[in-house]
């Protein structure tokens, strides 16, 4: 049974029509045409579909859309605005989030399919742990799978982004 729902995604409220049990991922991709969160397993095992829900990483492939109505959803596309908000800058002209910039600087992605979840999880980590140790990063990222073998560069990039964010983006 399709229902009308309001979803707050990346700071904008969208009206969507979907059955209440539809996983959030399919609404984000097929109705809102967002490309950040991706289908990987549909089982919450790999993390390719991750988004932030009120700032915490969740798996959109198993989260019913009914469960997130009214909450703030941030996708990969919304990280720049989130970062702008965090440092009190104008959201209208957001630079890339320091994690995204670090991902470019370190040349992290290979195919890049999993990297959405990697950056989302790292954003969650850095929102609570400003200067994570290597062990903290390894533990926080352990639920995300990469087939191309990019883990070492992700580790480097998170450290770089943490340092940039600690200085307020300078």
């Amino acid at each position: 049974m399709a229902s009308k729902l309001k979803l707050k995604v990346n700071g904008l409220v969208h009206s969507v029509t979907a059955s209440l049990d539809t996983p959030l991922l399919y609404v984000l991709h097929n109705e809102l045409h967002l490309h950040g969160p991706r289908f990987g397993c549909g089982l919450a095992q790999c993390g390719a579909c991750s988004v932030l829900l009120d700032g915490k990483e969740i798996r959109s492939c198993v989260t019913p859309v009914a469960a997130v109505s009214g909450k703030a959803i941030t996708t990969l596309e919304g990280l720049p605005a989130l970062w702008a908000k965090e440092r009190g800058a104008a959201a209208s002209s957001p630079a890339l989030h320091p994690l995204q910039q670090a991902w470019i600087d370190v040349q992290v992605p290979h195919c890049g399919y999993c990297q959405n979840g990697m950056m989302i999880q790292a954003a969650d980590l850095l929102s609570t742990t400003k200067n994570p140790t290597e062990d903290q990063i390894r533990t926080a990222m352990n639920g995300h799978l990469c087939r191309c073998g990019t883990y070492p560069r992700i580790l480097t990039a998170i450290k770089q982004a943490a340092a940039v964010m600690a200085k307020g983006g300078k």
Binding site: A18, S19, T22, P23, Y26, H29, N30, L32, H33, L34, H35, G36, R38, F39, G40, C41, G42, L43, Q45, C46, A48, T75, L76, E77, P80, L96, Q100, W103, I104, Q107, V108, P109, H110, C111, G112, Y113, C114, Q115, N116, M119, R138, T139, M141, N142, H144, L145, C146, R147, C148, G149, T150, Y151, P152, R153, I154, L155
Partner: protein
């Protein structure tokens, strides 16, 4: 034709202007419309472009940038960036002035056919084609500039695509912007440094510049359009319906739906069941409805053939062999192995087993197919559009149409089957993606008369992949009293690669009889000077006994090295020698490809990078639960040579091995993009660790049972090693492959490190904690 932008360039500009993902879907919807506006039939698939024409590969634009159609695809390894650099070097442009245009068999300018993007050949085989086109383009541009500037060609210089001479300047863009070159040439390739290409000594970019990939900003900001993101107007969502997990190649990949209970999904709105022969799928307007329908549809399937389950895999191979059903062939033979082995001072050997492994891309295969009465467009992450995807999809549609509409009622000629590339998740080899998934979308689209997007579910991907073959090796080696390798006798039990997709078989095409299994003669002692050496390949009976298999990153090399490089290592131990010194003493300095000493170069480079300290393996007494070990091994692939060093820790109580550091050195001739190569090597190493320690396809007596990431675990973030990668740059040699060689000896190096830590050999991979624990226990090992 001139001045017409390929739709991808158009869509990229749209992204930039629109700045948002919302527009991306429209860009594809516009594909057909724009092509039609340009007077081009969107379904036309006239490619490949002329292999002897500059215009097939390159276009210079008015803004003094260029588009490159290499015919190769980007798999995330940076190959298209390296190909841009190769073109830029010859054209005297900067790499960032050149963008790479994705593969397409149709559209305004169909891609040239430069072969399969596989086997680490994009640079070694695609590079010479790009180099030729770019060098010819440069000559043509110089002639145009000579006329325009009134200066002889010999007095012209070029920088960043601007030609200077006689105090005047003119850009490539001004000379030919968006017009055709109309230059044809004889021959299609030009080797590195071969005239009219630039001599290597004059290179300023190839092999030198550390160029970042230009596709990464779109990836990290979420605006990249993957194949999974492709939408076309009126598109429906399909899901394939098959048993969970394939059976053996043969009847096991042609499951028969004996009974389909349509009422089992009557609660789901607007679902259509597609049945063509034994092919079964569901199509619905909403993706989640299609997913639920595929999961809930009750189907009674025919039973797959009875096979040896995973616990009896190796016993089964022995049984087939003892019954004479595993025919042998001698793949390599030199000297007199039997007498040399008999007179060797010391011999050692064993049986080594390597389980089936899967491609396991993080994103399952996905394709959008738009099939009409006589035409089709397939949008997907194909690797060999001209050689495989187009002919096989054409044939599959013809077979399916014969069943649905009557024989010959519909014909899908290849010239009417357009294949358009969008990137997928990397799968490193001949995964099911490249044809089977596209066929499922095409058959469903034809049946429902609308475009259909099919992304496989995780269990489809895991369960219906073309696995890396399970392989068993019997290996024995001998040394003389001075630590020289004198004899080698090795036999592999291999399985032939599959040649038919389940979709094709389900719509009535016959299953070809499998050929010979591989017998890897390339990394089975080849790294050393061994005067008496015999390699035998036995082929196990694949049909109705083993799963469909195909190439998986460095095909057969991991299995081969795991066996053969442990025997080398153990002979070093028996000789009382350091394993690096032993290898160096025995290393082959013979000619490989077009150069000498590559094996030595790789070995010496990795030892230096890893600060190798000579000592005999397992010569440091250790106590406690955690033991440390260091191992070395050599392997390679795609004509390249690699050497690995592994530093591990093993918990002797739990059996868990953790790699702390992995180093690799690769000799691959002139590596066009050193930074890209290092990144690629790092990824290949990590994947090698994953395959060495964790990855194993499980199955019962009928079907594969590894259907998700719990049933088929990968190396996780917590346990990944730091990596050291060494590009051994050989500017004197033609490029060979780099994407696979670091994987080849990764498992062998880890196994050798394990022996260093414990004094125990591991004969079966992956070296999971349970397997290691059992091995230690059986060896009487007490912590």
């Amino acid at each position: 034709m001139t001045g017409l932008l390929h739709e991808r360039e158009f869509s990229r500009k749209t992204f930039v202007k629109g700045g948002g993902a919302m527009i991306v879907g429209l860009s594809l919807a516009g594909t057909a419309g724009r092509a039609q506006a340009a007077g081009i039939d969107p379904f036309a698939s006239p490619g490949p472009g002329d292999p002897n024409a500059v215009d097939s590969f390159l276009m210079i634009h008015s803004d003094n940038t260029a588009s490159l159609r290499s015919g190769r695809i980007e798999l995330g390894q940076g190959s298209t960036t390296a190909l841009r650099t190769i073109a830029a070097e010859e054209l005297d442009m900067d790499t960032d002035q050149i963008r790479h245009i994705a593969f397409d068999t149709g559209g305004p300018t169909p891609s040239p056919n430069t072969g399969n993007t596989g086997g680490s050949t994009s640079i070694s085989q695609g590079g010479p084609l790009v180099r030729k086109a770019a060098a010819e383009a440069k000559q043509s541009l110089l002639k145009l500039a000579s006329v325009a500037l009134g200066v002889p060609v010999a007095s012209l210089t070029v920088s960043k695509g601007v030609v200077s001479g006689g105090g005047k300047k003119i850009s490539y863009g001004e000379l030919i912007g968006d017009k055709l070159f109309n230059v044809r040439y004889t021959g299609t390739t030009l080797k590195t440094g071969e005239a009219p290409a630039k001599p290597v000594s004059q290179y300023t970019q190839v092999g030198i510049a550390r160029i970042p990939r230009d596709d990464i900003p779109d990836i990290v900001s979420g605006v990249k359009t993957y194949a999974a993101n492709v939408r076309v107007p009126g598109m429906l969502h399909g899901r394939v319906v098959r048993p969970r997990g394939q059976g053996a190649y043969g009847d096991g990949i042609n499951p028969v739906p004996l009974k389909v209970d349509e009422s089992s999904i009557k609660n789901i709105p607007d679902v259509k069941i597609v049945r063509v022969g034994n092919f079964l799928g569901v199509v619905a307007p909403k993706e989640y409805d299609a997913i639920q329908a595929a999961a809930q549809l009750k189907v009674a399937w025919s039973d797959p053939p009875k096979i040896f389950d995973v616990g009896n895999l190796w016993r089964g191979m022995r049984e087939f062999d003892s019954k004479g059903q595993a025919p042998a062939r001698i793949a390599f033979n030199s000297g007199n192995v039997d007498s040399a082995m008999a007179s060797a001072a010391k011999t050692w050997g064993g049986t080594f087993k390597y389980h089936y492994q899967m491609h396991a891309p993080i994103g399952p295969n996905v394709a959008v197919a738009d099939v009409t009465e006589n035409s089709a467009i397939i949008y997907s992450h194909v690797k060999n559009g001209y050689g495989v995807t187009r002919p096989q999809i054409s044939a599959a549609l013809n077979s399916a149409a014969d069943l649905l509409y009557g024989k010959g009622a519909r014909v899908y000629d290849q010239s009417r089957v357009r294949v358009v590339y969008y990137e997928g998740a990397s799968s490193f080899g001949g995964g099911a993606a490249h044809v089977d998934n596209g066929e499922t979308a095409a058959i469903m689209s034809m049946a429902v008369g609308a475009p259909v997007r099919v992304q496989w579910m995780r269990w489809d991907e895991h369960g219906w992949d073309n696995y890396g073959p399970a392989t068993m090796w019997d290996v024995k080696g001998g040394i003389d009293g001075s630590g020289n390798l004198v004899a080698w006798d090795a036999t592999s039990f291999g399985m032939a690669a599959y040649t038919k997709t389940p979709s094709e078989v389900q719509v009535g095409q016959p299953i070809p009889t499998p050929g010979n299994g591989p017998a890897d003669t390339t990394y089975s002692g080849t790294q050393y000077n061994i005067p008496n050496r015999r390699i035998v390949g036995k082929t196990v009976p694949v049909l109705n006994n083993y799963f469909k298999t195909s190439t998986l990153r460095a095909p057969n090399a991991m299995q081969t090295c795991f066996a053969n490089e442990q025997v080398v290592d153990h002979l070093a131990y028996l000789a009382g020698m350091d394993p690096y010194q032993f290898r160096l003493k025995n290393i082959s300095t013979a000619q490989v490809n077009d150069g000498f000493n590559q094996w030595r170069d790789a070995l010496v480079a990795v030892a230096k990078a890893a600060n190798w300290q000579p000592r005999v393996a397992n010569s440091v007494k250790q106590t406690g639960d955690i033991r440390k070990g260091r191992g070395i091994a050599m392997g390679g692939f795609a004509g390249s040579q690699a050497a690995n060093v592994a530093d591990i820790e093993v918990n002797v109580k739990t059996g868990k091995i953790v790699t702390k550091h992995m180093a690799v050195a690769v000799v691959a001739g002139l590596m066009a993009g050193p930074a890209l190569a290092e990144n690629n090597m790092s990824g290949a190493l990590i994947m090698g660790v994953s395959r060495a320690l964790h990855e194993e396809v499980a199955f019962d007596k009928g079907r594969v049972t590894s259907l998700d990431w719990v049933g088929y675990p990968l190396l996780r973030f917590k346990d990944h090693p730091s990596v050291t990668t060494v590009v051994v740059q050989r500017t004197d040699l033609q490029p060979t492959g780099n994407g696979e060689p670091p994987t080849a000896a990764a498992a062998a190096a880890i196994a050798n490190a394990f022996f260093d830590a414990t004094g125990v050999r591991l004969y079966e991979a992956p070296m999971t904690a349970a397997r290691v624990r059992a091995t230690l226990k059986a060896a009487g090992f007490t912590a």
